[in-house]
């Protein structure tokens, strides 16, 4: 006797995870979209959209305010910086993966060392780097003083600048563990490649660059897609390292959209406005990733 007929059984097996997915992923997304048109402060009774509670305001006034806010554009610019410079880590990852793939016998202790930051919590990474960059007594200052590159009465002021400069310190800290992550993804990709193709290419007279460019890289494409997407997401949702190293400071110089969203929601208690930042961030992420995947698909045809 069968409990369910065959057409229903997939749904029965899927049900538990669908329920969880709906509850913890889909519902919060929809709810955030809804909150973004309200002016909820988190304490008043459940909110109706702004244009219903006060007809003279537009339902999108959170968004108009957002696009006029200096802090939004500052955070947005910083996220762009993240996309560009954090985006270097796949190159490091690829370089390391190729190195270790070739020299795999010698290099395993080194590989472990390089992989280590990946195991650390990002909070630990942030702490370590803020100590490195600590003005006055951090590692960077100490080394610069020792090498006489910086007069003893001066301090290396990277993290005290107002403007784009302190982002360098934060992004550098983030690149460290992320390169290790990219390395692991590429190593896995490399170990799946069939060896006989390399041999065939070498027999056909390809040099090492040609082998890399025309054989290995195209075959690594599935790994590259994953690596690029995790990197893009990592850059857009930059939060933990920033929060621990600078908390967005000095004076919001290193703020990112995710941190800005957190501050508006849980420091200033503007749940509606915070949700509108979340919506914009969501749109940017989805847009970027779709554009990238489309580009990939185009390349395939």
């Amino acid at each position: 006797m069968k409990l369910f007929d065959d057409s229903k059984s997939p749904w029965v097996f899927l049900a538990p995870s669908l329920v969880l997915y709906g509850l913890y992923v889909l519902f919060p997304i929809v709810f955030t979209f809804y909150l973004s048109v309200t002016a909820w402060d988190g304490i008043s009774s459940f909110p109706l959209p702004m244009c219903i509670t006060s007809p003279e305001t537009s339902c999108l006034s959170n968004f108009t305010e957002l696009f006029e806010a200096e802090l939004f554009w500052k955070s947005f610019t910083n996220n762009l910086l993240w996309l560009v410079f954090f985006g270097i880590s796949p190159l490091f990852g690829l370089f390391l993966a190729l190195f270790f793939h070739v020299k795999s016998n010698f290099a395993s202790p080194l590989k472990t060392l390089l992989f280590m930051p990946m195991v650390f919590s990002l909070i630990v990474v942030g702490m370590i780097w803020s100590w490195f960059l600590q003005p006055g007594f951090g590692l960077v200052d100490t080394v610069l003083h020792l090498l006489k590159l910086l007069p003893p009465d001066q301090e290396f002021g990277l993290m005290t600048e107002l403007g784009l400069a302190p982002n360098a310190g934060v992004i550098l800290a983030a690149i460290w563990p992320h390169s290790a992550y990219c390395m692991i993804l590429y190593l896995a990709g490399l170990s799946n490649l069939p060896k006989n193709v390399f041999e065939a290419a070498l027999i056909d007279g390809a040099n090492r660059w040609q082998l890399l460019w025309h054989v290995i890289l195209p075959m690594l494409k599935p790994a590259t897609i994953i690596v690029v997407i995790v990197t893009m997401i990592g850059a857009l949702r930059a939060f933990d390292i920033v929060a621990i190293m600078t908390n967005g400071g000095p004076a919001n110089s290193t703020n990112t959209l995710a941190l800005y969203m957190y501050q508006e929601t849980f420091v200033n208690f503007r749940y509606g406005y915070g949700a509108s930042i979340a919506v914009v961030l969501f749109m940017i992420s989805v847009g970027l990733i779709l554009a990238y995947l489309r580009q990939i698909k185009k390349g395939e045809t």
């Binding site: 600590q134 006055g136 005290t160 200033n268």
Partner: protein, 408 residues
């Protein structure tokens, strides 16, 4: 961790819905081990007098509490909750979420100073019961002051700036500050603004009824700017935390530090004797001194289920013996002025004297001002300290947020 706590908390709430009369549920944000221990002792003492009341205590970490109180206060509230005095409390009081407790205050109000009563009274009614507070002021290196020929700590601004000059000449950072988090800078704004224009103007500014474009605020910024430009503060302030800045004082790299009394628990043993205290100097002799002294309070939510028991508890908190015992063990000051304070701790003694001379106490910038204005303010203060050129832009930034918040 916090979601786990939230769930535990929700579970406790669920249980509490079936609680019997005679129960007392207290929500607290004092998760610091010392304070937690002292508060547990206080509850023990309360139970001795009130054997029929069953006390349930829920302690949440400070930051999580600030977020969660907004969920439970309007819905399923405990019987007693911890909070801050001043405008942070006004926010809930104006929404009708706090029970007035004038009856608890009858007969005991003479035991509290006017400055304390002022921060628990809103629209003529008393809503809060204060337990402890602490003072702010300068902690300085006696040995360094001696070395540059300063015998007594400064009383006036002129004396103060002379010391700054002398310390600079001796190649010591005059004042330590770390503003990686903005609040230590806000203490400077609080003090300068109160010393130059008085408590009343400062509190009106905090409550949103005065403008940040007022020439008076500009004057405050100018005094501050002059001080910053005279190299009064250590380098790289924007990248170091308040703890790292205190290290500058301990190492003798800086001469003094404007901080709350909680810093005295961190003074290294070997230099303990070298650290002294003096209150923020006078800037305008016509203005009576007001001090920054954050008060920790307890209140009864309007939706509390056991108000009679809660009032008994608040009356117990107000007692001089209760306040004395609790505060002595956590090195804070009792708000009941009939409590006898052990003068064993010289910093507490100096603090009590400072507050006794104060006509009013403010609650600190980020408790007195609306949270949004406070954040914009602190960001701007950091900007001023890092780049002390453009006072007008800074004032305009805070003003823009004030206008948006208070037009609602």
């Amino acid at each position: 961790m916090s979601t786990f706590k939230a769930k535990t908390w929700a579970f406790i709430l669920f249980l509490s819905s079936t609680a019997h009369a005679g129960d007392l549920i207290i929500n607290s944000m004092h998760s610091d081990p010392d304070v937690k221990k002292a508060f547990a002792q206080l509850l023990e003492d309360f139970k001795k007098e009130n054997a029929d009341i069953k006390v349930v205590l829920n302690t949440t970490s400070h930051e999580a509490y600030k977020v969660q109180i907004r969920t439970w206060l309007p819905n399923k509230a405990p019987d007693v909750a911890t909070w801050f005095a001043g405008n942070r409390a006004r926010y809930f009081i104006d929404k009708g979420l706090v029970e007035p407790i004038d009856d608890v205050w009858t007969g005991i109000d003479k035991q509290f100073s006017d400055s304390i009563k002022d921060v628990v009274t809103f629209n003529g009614k008393k809503y809060l019961m204060p337990l402890s507070y602490y003072n702010w002021g300068f902690y300085y290196r006696k040995d360094i002051f001696e070395k540059i020929g300063v015998k007594t700590p400064p009383k006036t601004w002129a004396e103060f700036t002379t010391i700054v000059e002398k310390l600079n000449k001796a190649s010591i950072s005059p004042i330590a500050i770390g503003i990686k988090d903005g609040w230590p800078a806000a203490a400077w704004f609080d003090y300068l603004n109160m010393r130059i224009h008085g408590y009343k103007f400062h509190m009106a500014l905090m409550a949103g009824t005065e403008s940040y474009l007022d020439p008076k605020v500009k004057k405050t910024f100018e005094v501050w700017q002059t001080l910053i430009k005279s190299n009064a503060f250590n380098k790289s302030a924007a990248a170091i935390s308040w703890q790292e800045a205190s290290a500058l004082l301990w190492q003798g790299k800086a001469g003094m530090y404007l901080m709350g009394n909680f810093i005295t628990t961190q003074i290294p043993k070997n230099i303990e004797d070298q650290i002294g205290f003096f209150p923020f100097p006078t800037l305008n002799p016509e203005i009576p001194n007001a001090e920054v002294a954050p008060v920790d309070v307890y209140f009864i939510p309007a939706k509390a289920a056991h108000k009679a028991e809660a009032k008994k508890f608040l009356a117990f908190l107000a007692k001089p013996e209760t306040q004395q015992k609790f505060n002595q063990s956590v090195k804070l000051m009792p708000t009941n002025s009939t409590s006898i304070t052990d003068a064993g701790d010289r910093f507490l003694k100096a603090g009590i004297e400072t507050l006794r001379n104060a006509k009013n106490v403010s609650q600190f910038f980020d408790r007195d001002a609306d949270p949004e204005v406070a954040k914009a303010g602190m960001d701007s203060f950091v900007e001023l300290m890092a780049r002390p050129d453009d006072i007008n832009t800074i004032a305009k930034k805070i003003e823009a947020v004030r206008l948006r918040v208070y037009k609602k």
